[in-house]
Symmetry: C2
Subunit: 331 residues, 2 copies
Amino acid sequence: MPLFLARKPLAHTQLSHMDAQLATWRVMVEERLRASLERGPDCPDRLREAMAYSLLGGGKRLRSLLVLMACEACGGDVEAALPAACAIEMVHTYSLIHDDLPAMDDDDLRRGQPTSHRRFDEGTAILAGDALLTLAFEILAAELRPPAVAAACCADLAAAAGPCGMVGGQMDDLQGSGIRGQGSEGGDQGGGDNSQLSTLDSQLPTLDRLESVHRRKTGRLLCSALTMGGRIAGADDQTRGSLTTYGESIGLAFQIVDDLLDVRGNSATMGKQVGKDEAAGKLTYPGLLGEAESRRRAEQLIDEACRAVAVFGNRGQRLEAMAHYVIARDH
Amino acid sequence: MPLFLARKPLAHTQLSHMDAQLATWRVMVEERLRASLERGPDCPDRLREAMAYSLLGGGKRLRSLLVLMACEACGGDVEAALPAACAIEMVHTYSLIHDDLPAMDDDDLRRGQPTSHRRFDEGTAILAGDALLTLAFEILAAELRPPAVAAACCADLAAAAGPCGMVGGQMDDLQGSGIRGQGSEGGDQGGGDNSQLSTLDSQLPTLDRLESVHRRKTGRLLCSALTMGGRIAGADDQTRGSLTTYGESIGLAFQIVDDLLDVRGNSATMGKQVGKDEAAGKLTYPGLLGEAESRRRAEQLIDEACRAVAVFGNRGQRLEAMAHYVIARDH
């Protein structure tokens, strides 16, 4: 059963089937990712194998598609944006490998397969992550044109992924484990469906903290995908601002849906352990706001995202469809 | 007792005392590194603390100084090269943090202090390394001018640090533990001083392998320091080629001296555990060639390095002095 009632015709909410163009883009990204791992003899076989295992092991390629969609929305040449589409997928993959490590979230399963450190070993997993992060910047810097765009995209991606972005979010997330319900006296913390707006209000400090983690851990990377796509198309600051608003909104919505799927989903569909957040006592949206209020908030965010990309008219259609997909997905 | 007899007046081999300019440069680098960690509230305190602990915890700043020396040798503005000097120090520091992890070399001591995962915890150490690597590219991309130089330096540094460079070398080093003496039938493997050139010849495949690891694990990053310094000064390909020759030579010499110091040094001077390579059965220069032949090879490499930078005349003096320092150092 889907988490949300479809509010658009089904074709608009099923991203994977809606659009032959997206399928083509996905194939282009996969091919380019595969080619980018064809390194010379200086790259040890085991390292290459571990990089390929995680990078080419499935994944929805949402971030890559966002780069290409943003480039299209701004009237750019989508093929010119492929290096950025690959780089951001590498950064995302590195973050999953490192987040799964025993010293971090200690996960055994990712996309239905053993995590990198389970399939290989911890040292190899750490190095495969390091290598993918580094390779991302090499590809951006060496393959994007002109150099001013290459340098700006490197700066965007690094700021989004670094200590004030994704790594900072993961650090706070690590430290925040077990604080569920902190500062929440009297609120409905049970994840029931009867949460009201007043619950939301009384939880603001905790909610702020939760959103701050997700904004950095997930949202900033999504925003950098969009910003890079815009830059490559030559978009101005204001246009990139619309893309950022869109990215922040779908980023939070994405996380809310992740949390809801963790409560409702099952391991087979999700390809990873579920119910783990609750078991670990982690702060989550349904834990904090209840399921109904969490769904309401996700829908509100998707509306905001769609309003932000209305400026692109027809060229923004795929971004709009992607926003709807974020809350329609079941894995 | 020094490992090598001084072949130049002492002032030329004691880098730290030889030159007020170098002391000034070091202070400039330290200040810039410290300032680069002043991030906004999005950077968690614990993460910033762990980054500062390793980044500002001493270190010889050899790589930073090489950037500035190469820039000077090519007639460039040394201050303009400071972002690259900081970036390479961040990449070097990240590599030390990750190499020290239990899943890698499992070291408790670095520069006389507990390693990052001992002082903090493993998760924090992994993230501090990730953050420093990412921040390095942000600084290069956002602070170097013009953008074409920024992009080229990002590509240089990433290629040097990535899967075909430093990370690849570390992977092979991890896998190579315990192969000491492989393919060495009949050779003198005892580390005695009586090794001859014939021993070197009979060990070529193993020696090639050892040098391949060090070229990637240490040499490529040193070369990128020099190449970036040259680029920022506007040096052409041929001039950067001389810098690369110099970097490859001092890189290998540096590693030979490291191996010799591990045999001869003591923990107090080195600030880290010594005798560990032998205990771990690791392939080392003295283990493979004996101490005398290892010293001879280091001296030969330093001569090659000095010949390569002779083209710079007086402006290359500091690079020459640095080459002599590499084999004169006792820690």
